[in-house]
Point group: C2
Chain length 272, copies 2
């Protein structure tokens, strides 16, 4: 499905869809459907069967209407997918976020990851552009706002955002793909590292991959061996160390922040 995504798409229309800004057009009969109901139905299916289970037919069926009636509300299926992504993102819940930038960015990253782990199908939707919906923009807002007092300029902030969100998405994708493979291959997520190692061992020990072989043997790929959450936090901490260094370089008030830092930043979990 992701193949041609982003190819043909009217930006203005999409923005109207994302923000539900629509001339109601008071002429004809009031529609029985709504973008909200369609998206909700599609999300229910995706939650139950994965993104592959989402077809226009099935969405329409669930709503008790014909397939084609959906097209009165959504121009193309790909647009529906974008709307699903936006809706499933929801507003970030920042109620128990700490006050310092480091804590907030940590919370953001783990919030992203949890979201993707809860709704793995979101990872199957190819992002067709920068965030434009209210929810995704709010996620963006909370990150950027966390960095606003650090002395970083806007370009830095965007860079940090991209690196962090990219990492969260990547880690989630990795974990999800392993969990998905589990049912058939019969290897659970926790055993994956071992299996991966065995798989590679059959093939890698020809001297062309000495470092890979060494790393595999070291057990560094045993993803689930330790706590996956800890591994993730370690990676995030690593990135945030970089951010701290950048802040220092830009002459920002890093020390003040560092003192307030609640987690042992450079410390990495024993398992890794």
């Amino acid at each position: 499905m992701a193949a041609e995504r982003g190819g043909l798409r009217d930006l203005e229309v999409m923005v109207d869809l994302l923000w539900r800004t629509h001339r109601p057009g008071t002429r004809g009969p009031r529609g029985s459907l709504s973008v909200d109901r369609i998206v909700a139905a599609a999300i229910e299916i995706a939650d139950a069967e994965g993104l592959g289970g989402v077809s226009m037919r099935k969405v329409a069926e669930r709503l008790g209407v014909t397939t084609m009636s959906l097209y009165r509300y959504v121009p193309r299926k790909d647009d529906l997918l974008d709307l699903m992504f936006e809706a499933a993102s929801g507003q970030p819940d920042t109620t128990d976020w700490p006050d310092d930038w480091r804590g907030r960015l940590t919370a953001y990253a783990s919030g992203c990851r949890k979201l993707f782990l809860r709704r793995p199908w979101m990872l199957d939707i190819g992002i067709s552009g920068p965030p434009m919906g209210p929810n995704n923009l709010m996620w963006m807002e909370v990150v950027l706002a966390s960095l606003v007092d650090t002395g970083l300029d806007e370009g830095d902030m965007v860079g940090v955002l991209m690196i962090l969100s990219g990492y969260a998405m990547n880690e989630a994708r990795q974990e999800v793909s392993m969990r998905r493979a589990a049912p058939l291959t019969g290897v659970t997520y926790e055993e994956w590292g071992e299996v991966y190692g065995k798989m590679l061992a059959r093939v890698v020990d020809d001297g062309r991959y000495p470092t890979v072989a060494r790393v595999v043997r070291s057990g560094a790929f045993d993803a689930g061996s330790g706590n996956a959450d800890e591994d993730f936090a370690y990676g995030v901490g690593f990135i945030l160390d970089g951010v701290a260094a950048l802040i220092r370089e830009r002459g920002g008030s890093d020390t003040a922040q560092a003192v307030r830092d609640p987690q042992g930043a450079g410390e990495r979990p024993a398992g890794r």
Copy 2:
């Protein structure tokens, strides 16, 4: 298509496919096709029409055979996609890579990015697991090997690899999606930042997104305004600064490496 990827898949078979290790089975007639030819044909189509143009029928047509004959060589279309990804990756060309870890990681990242920009359809293939093919493993090998003398342990090395490759992929994805949107929306990649800003301005200035509004106004999103390559290099440099800090923390020989560092690491391009 990407929906159910990784769901049902026999790992052993896939490894055999990726490494072309197959009992030739000398009994029946020698096949006129081969995995190589099939993958090559599929890649030609993807290069010309994008991943959406790749169907089993069209691949078969191009090879002058029936659709179903392909299934004698490739169990499922998703497997063919994985094989395409592996084949298109090719072996990394490290001939003019520098010797220091920083230079090598920089070269790796930009090699990744260039690869994805040259073959955007690779980004549309959902990664179904860790790298297992000879080419992708070699990419992994060259990165890990670059870090082997830095004092980082294996877990660190894997973490660095994931962050860096994830960033490269993400940046490429962003750029590709903008370029793809260009034909219809009429906005070129270079104008995207401006358009994005205008789009958001219509909707964002309600006080709920003060930081986003500010960042948009600052022009930080004007992706093409400066040199995209420079922007990317800046992000990579930022990550590598973090790596350097980690090396220092682990007691590795960072100073020696830093001296050999060919690029002004912390320096960021003016455009950003």
